[in-house]
């Protein structure tokens, strides 16, 4: 794959449009004080990222992002929002020149670092050579499975995925312990949630 497409091919235009929309959604999330709108915008953000991943040919990641990011975390954040107020308290932003300078310098350094990054799809890039190349070459003979992503996830990196499953299991146990299954109050109709004063 040495023939890179010209600068303004349709794919590049789609990428640019998606990335622009991502930035717009992120800025409007920062600006909004209405928490319901922020949760919905974060769902849109995940859906746009999923579309961007599809454009990068990473369908498995896109699938996960659409299901987990746009689907379940929006629902869980809405459920969490029910336990608190609906509107963020207005806060007057203070001036912090040192912080601004640090952030600007860091951003400039990151932009400078992108010059050194390999081109997208470069076969010689570190991400595509070494172990990644090994997986692509050996999957066909070692694990007869058309989807290399599944082979890497469940077999080559099976131990990592076991850790991930353990993390999810631990999260579930932690939520059960914190939000009280079988507690004295039964985990339902907690008195502090009912008497709390709402600001809208």
């Amino acid at each position: 794959m040495s023939d890179f497409s010209p600068l303004m091919s349709p794919v590049v235009l789609i990428d640019l449009a998606l990335l622009t929309m991502l930035i717009l959604v992120a800025v409007s999330m920062l600006k909004s004080r209405h928490l319901f709108a922020v949760v919905m915008l974060s769902g849109i953000y995940s859906l746009l990222s999923a579309a961007f991943f599809v454009s990068l040919d990473a369908v498995d990641v896109a699938f996960t992002e659409a299901a987990v990011g746009a689907g379940i975390s929006t629902v869980l954040m809405l459920a969490g929002m029910l336990l608190t107020v609906r509107r963020e308290k207005p806060k007057t932003p203070g001036r912090a020149p040192v912080a601004l300078a640090v952030v600007l310098a860091m951003g400039a350094a990151l932009f400078y670092a992108t010059i050194d990054m390999p081109a997208f799809g470069d076969a010689q890039a570190p991400a595509n050579s070494y172990v990644g190349q090994e997986y692509v070459e050996r999957t066909a003979s070692e694990i007869p499975m058309p989807n290399i992503v599944t082979a890497v996830l469940a077999s080559y990196r099976g131990f990592d995925t076991m850790g991930e499953t353990m993390v999810i299991f631990t999260a579930g146990v932690a939520v059960m312990l914190l939000l009280g299954l079988g507690s004295v109050r039964g985990g339902r109709e907690v008195s502090d949630a009912k008497t709390k004063k709402r600001d809208d």
Binding site: I143, E164, T165, F169, G187, E189
Partner: protein, 146 residues
């Protein structure tokens, strides 16, 4: 809160969502998908049910006790596969030991299938557990209260 259209629509959608979750679960070897995505899609079907019928109805259909057991079973399916391969004399999660004399690495197929099933069960039950606990803390809120 009695929305007839929502209830009928969610009843229509429930079975196809479950079917799609199973497709994603067991077709993950051949196309995009796998345990994580399938587990989330499975959980979403029940969350839709909870939105349209109320959480109490969903808890009757799928009680928290079953979810707690399923969480453990999911993780045990995964780590148990690793243990079995170790008992068969290979390294942890070396699925080839499951079918040692296979010429086309059938053990890898079985191992990955079981492991992904474990991931799917664990993810689905954990997501629903988290959803139950967050949503079950407060009575239903008014429609205008958003």
């Amino acid at each position: 809160m009695d929305h007839l259209i929502l209830k009928v629509t969610s009843k229509l959608l429930f079975a196809p969502i479950i079917l799609y979750a199973l497709y994603v679960q067991f077709h993950g070897d051949y196309g995009p998908g796998g345990g994580f995505q399938a587990g989330v899609i499975f959980a979403v079907a029940f969350i839709l049910h909870a939105f349209c019928f109320g959480l109490d109805e969903t808890k009757k259909a799928l009680p928290q006790k079953a979810l707690t057991v399923a969480m453990v079973i999911g993780f045990l399916l995964y780590s148990g596969t690793g243990l079995v391969t170790m008992l068969l004399g290979a390294n942890l999660l070396s699925y080839d030991a499951l079918v040692p004399n296979s010429t086309h690495h059938a053990g890898q197929h079985y191992g990955i299938l079981v492991v992904e099933l474990g991931v799917g069960v664990a993810v689905a039950s954990t997501m629903l557990t988290i959803f139950y606990h967050f949503t079950g803390r407060e009575p239903d809120i008014d429609q205008e209260d958003w």
